[in-house]
């Protein structure tokens, strides 16, 4: 076969597919967000930001991301470190920690609903401990704070796995000679972690943080399962505008806003956590 054309031939299907189902709809959504009845306009964005639920949804989403992602980073680092020190049962621990990776956000929401619901396990536990005598309504429309806490817990539970997997893979690439040398010179485990593991883990940390931040802005089904419409988030509002309010253009404006935030944050973290080529292992 002609050697020159072959790689392009092999890439063709994937490239065409991504052009039709990634670049083209992206252009369409941008177009829909800026037009209404055929003419260019910013009305869709004005409608979006003018709605009373918009600031609530916007800040809820940001607040969720800023609370959830750092906690996840620490937990994922803990999981990865613990697993890398384990001798027996390493495979089992890795599998258990990775389980939530396969669980959809909707299922995760339902799992935590089983705990936080009025007839759920948390209320049973509290009443068994004698702390409450009647079931508490954790997820009602008046208890925004407990809904928020439940969503935070469900998100941490569900999405720490992806960070853990990325960090474990990254730690596996660090040559063990570094650790051995440091140990010979008497560096404590904590010092080795801070001075060797963390700096060498930077490319993985970058991937993990970017991916997780993006996913945090897509939070949707967890909130839908736990809070219904009592806790507005951006993705849920997009869904509402598309379905309940039947306004494609405003939904597109929401979509474009989420896209812009995601891309902006990706670029930000790529710069902040930049890894020079020569420093990679």
């Amino acid at each position: 076969m002609h050697g020159k054309a072959l790689p392009y031939l092999l890439l063709m299907p994937a490239t065409l597919f991504l052009c039709v189902f990634f670049l083209y709809p992206f252009a369409l959504v941008a177009f829909e967000a800026f037009t209404r009845d055929g003419g260019f306009t910013l009305d869709n964005f004005r409608t979006m930001t003018g709605n009373w639920r918009f600031p609530v949804a916007f800040w809820n989403t940001i607040l969720l991301a800023t609370i959830v992602v750092p906690i996840q980073l620490v937990m994922a680092l803990l999981m990865a470190t613990v697993v890398s020190r384990l001798e027996a049962g390493r495979g089992a621990a890795l599998y258990i920690f990775a389980i939530p990776l396969g669980i959809s956000d909707l299922a995760a929401g339902l799992i935590w609903l089983a705990i936080f619901d009025q007839s759920g396990f948390l209320n049973t536990l509290l009443s068994n401990l004698g702390l409450v005598d009647r079931p508490v309504m954790f997820l009602g429309y008046q208890s925004k704070l407990t809904i928020f806490v439940a969503v935070v817990l469900a998100e941490i539970w569900r999405a720490t796995a992806i960070m853990m997997v990325i960090l474990v893979a990254g730690m596996g690439l660090i040559p063990r000679e570094y650790h051995e040398a440091a140990e010979v010179f008497g560096a404590s485990p904590w010092k080795r972690f801070v001075k060797i593991t963390l700096p060498l883990l930077r490319p993985s940390l970058q991937t993990a943080i970017i991916l997780r931040v993006i996913l945090a802005f897509e939070v949707f089904a967890v909130v839908a399962a736990l809070g219904g419409t009592n806790l507005p988030v951006l993705m849920g509002e997009t869904y509402n505008w598309q379905f309940s309010l039947q306004d494609r253009n405003v939904a597109a404006a929401f979509a474009l806003l989420i896209l812009a935030i995601s891309v902006g944050l990706t670029l930000f973290f790529m710069r902040v956590l930049r890894v020079p080529k020569e420093a990679r292992i």
Binding site: L18, F22, V29, M75, V83, S104, A107, V168, S204, I214
Partner: protein, 280 residues
Amino acid sequence: MSAVAEIPIAAPAARKAGNWLLVATVILLSAWVLLPIYLLIVNALSSPEEVTAFPKRFFPSFDFGSLSFFINFAGVGRALWNSVLVATLTMILSIGFGAPAGYALSRFDFPGKGTFRFLVLMTRAFPLPLLALPLAVMFIRTGLDDTAIGLALVHTTLALPFAVLITFSLFSGIPVELEEAAWTLGCTRLQAFRKVILPLALPGIAASAVFAFTISWNEVFAAAVLTIENRTLTAFLLQSLGESPLYLKFAGGAALVIPALIFIFAVRKYLFAMWGIANR
């Protein structure tokens, strides 16, 4: 990936204490992951009355009332079937498009390689389910709306980048010398690929197929936007969240979770290898 093993230098007593702490941490973290799943399963294996009862028991009564209600609930069977159908189509499409690209990236150096890699990496920065919004209109025009294949196309956009990255790392792990040896023995490029590379890569390709299946199985937003009559299980559950009884939700949640446990078990070895390369 190699474990970062500890060299025993510290005093035995201190090491022993450290080991206990390590084991305790692992048990605690495992409980954190497993306990919530267990509680959902308890609910799924209880009768509807027990699910809404208070206080409730922490052990299942193995009453299949909730599950049989779920199975017999109108639309569930169809939604389950749609989920399987869409996920299977997604799996075929993403491997069919992704594996050749992964092979090309691992074996050839050519102009435009960087651009393609950038295109694939960019998809990670986009909330892809949102692309279902404009596609809904396009699908109505082309008759793809509310069909399994239409939804599978969107899910393939989600799964394709991962399929490319996994197969890329997979093929990179197979020495090119094996292929070259086959060529000198008279194989054509295609024969060498089919007889030498493919058997070696097949388990990994199967793993990335399962991964694509899982992505589609779990996706909620695009499924809910693009399907009305032919809902997948996630879309069905999402749309009935408001009005459906608790035990239906929990049985549905269990139906979503159980396959996920199996999927992750099937691909556990490849999860870490794949990210090791995909990170760089």
